[in-house]
């Protein structure tokens, strides 16, 4: 744990936009990426032209552009969150089975999803609280979690009640097993996998302080 302080890269916790900027920076040039509904959508604001990232939306498009505004709004051109979007040069449209084949066939490099919980081994829970009376709705979450080469999660580390969302074992209904490879939170970036959880960087806290918040054994990730 001697490297603990060296992985702190920010004196304060990251806000949602700073976190989105960090995720965007970590996406390799030329990648094909799906950004989930909600917070992950913010990542698109920070992708640069030089990165040449192609965005997929599971309702049938590659080459999705920014949100549509004003006269650009077209009811026939929406993203998976049903927000009007735009089309970039080199885009393509396809039907739903072909679109999900892109995800399910392992062709997407990265998908970025929100989460309720992530387990130490990368299990994901993000679709259902399991609360009595809650209407379940899964959408494409399970396909994205299972199909992409890398699944990045973006979330606050703690619930409003202060409980860690990184857990030994998920208590919410699972979306996928062992699928999450990285977790971006306001307090740090975690690498998950069969060998447990490594911390790549911390924001506004040390690894030791982070360990007090998270009920899973943490280690420092080897320097990249």
């Amino acid at each position: 744990m001697s490297t603990a302080t060296s992985i702190q890269t920010s004196a304060t916790p990251l806000g949602r936009d700073d976190l989105a900027r960090l995720v965007a920076k970590d996406i390799a040039p030329g990648s094909f990426v799906n950004l989930g509904i909600g917070q992950p959508t913010l990542v698109s604001n920070y992708l640069t032209d030089e990165q040449n990232i192609t965005l997929h939306t599971e309702n049938g498009m590659l080459g999705m552009g920014p949100a549509a505004e004003g006269d650009q709004i077209d009811g026939d051109l929406i993203n998976a969150g049903k927000i009007p979007v735009t089309e970039l040069p080199g885009a393509s449209y396809f039907h739903h089975a072909d679109s999900f084949a892109i995800m399910r066939g392992g062709h997407l490099d990265i998908c970025v999803l929100g989460a309720f919980q992530v387990s130490a081994t990368g299990d994901l829970a993000n679709w259902h609280t399991g609360a009595p009376g809650a209407i379940p709705a899964v959408g494409g979450a399970m396909d994205l979690a299972t199909g992409a080469k890398d699944v990045f999660v973006m979330m606050t580390l703690l619930t409003r009640e202060g409980a860690s969302k990184i857990v030994e074992s998920c208590t919410y209904p699972l979306t996928g097993i062992g699928c999450v490879t990285r977790v971006y939170t306001d307090k740090g970036v975690f690498l998950t996998g069969p060998d447990g959880v490594a911390v790549r960087e911390t924001f506004g806290c040390t690894l030791e302080e982070l360990q007090e918040l998270v009920p899973v054994q943490l280690k420092a990730a080897p320097a990249a």
């Binding site: 599971e58 026939d76 039907h95 739903h96 899964v138 299972t146 979330m155 699972l174």
Partner: protein
């Protein structure tokens, strides 16, 4: 057999109580509102409806559900900010829900059209949506057995049809249209425009006419931007 009809009422007139009806669209894009309105008017009930969602606001599928015509929904995302009619019926125990991951929904519809008896997929393995389903490990990955979803009728929306029933769509309004057209015994399409045979480039036809049974022209103009889904996390 392909027929061109003059009204949406005539188009849906063969839909009977108890039918399984696929309805195209993702949110409002590609949703055949006028055909759904006609289905509401024709009075068919005890329907099983296959759609990605379970209706939004006070239009289309939401009204079918409000009026109690739908006995069962097969969909991936029934919970939306404006899905109040489904919410009410569901909480009252008046509508059955088969919740299917969206990719399994699409692949099961595609399987029906392609004559596949069933398939294994990793999606959903180890989750409550695979409970009670056959599973096996293939190449080291847990997989779930999923079966085709057939339908008596599909109601879909396309941009143009030619005289042979060939279809092209517009942008993300394509979504479920092509696979539903193939999965249903009888496919009813509303299009903005009918062009003469030969008026569509054979390289660009998305749905060949073999999958189309009834075509009705509904001039564009309806359809607004959909409400947004609830955020996760």
């Amino acid at each position: 057999m392909l027929t061109f009809v003059d009204s949406v009422q005539e188009a849906v007139s063969g839909i009977k109580d108890g039918y399984t009806v696929m309805i195209g669209g993702f949110g409002n894009a590609g949703q055949p509102f006028e055909l759904i309105d006609a289905l509401l008017d024709c009075g068919a009930k005890d329907l099983t409806v296959v759609n990605n969602n379970a209706g939004q606001g006070d239009q289309g599928l939401a009204l079918l559900i409000k009026e109690g015509r739908v006995g069962k929904m097969i969909c991936s995302f029934p919970r939306q900010s404006d899905s109040w009619h489904f919410d009410t019926r569901y909480k009252a125990g008046e509508i059955e829900l088969e919740l299917v991951p969206q990719g399994n929904l699409a692949e099961r519809i595609r399987a029906a059209g392609a004559g596949i008896g069933g398939f294994f997929t990793p999606t959903g393995y180890g989750t409550m949506l695979a409970e009670g389903k056959e599973t096996r490990i293939i190449d080291g990955r847990g997989q779930v057995f999923e079966t085709p979803i057939h339908a008596d009728v599909a109601l879909i929306k396309a941009l143009k049809a030619d005289g042979k029933g060939n279809l092209v769509y517009r942008k993300t309004a394509r979504n479920f249209g092509p696979i539903m057209a193939a999965a249903a015994r009888h496919t009813i399409v509303q299009v903005s425009e009918i062009v003469p045979t030969g008026g569509l480039d054979p390289e660009n036809v998305v749905t060949p006419g073999i999958y189309v049974n009834t075509v009705v022209r509904v001039p564009a103009g309806a359809g607004s931007t959909a409400g947004t889904e609830e955020k996760v996390a």
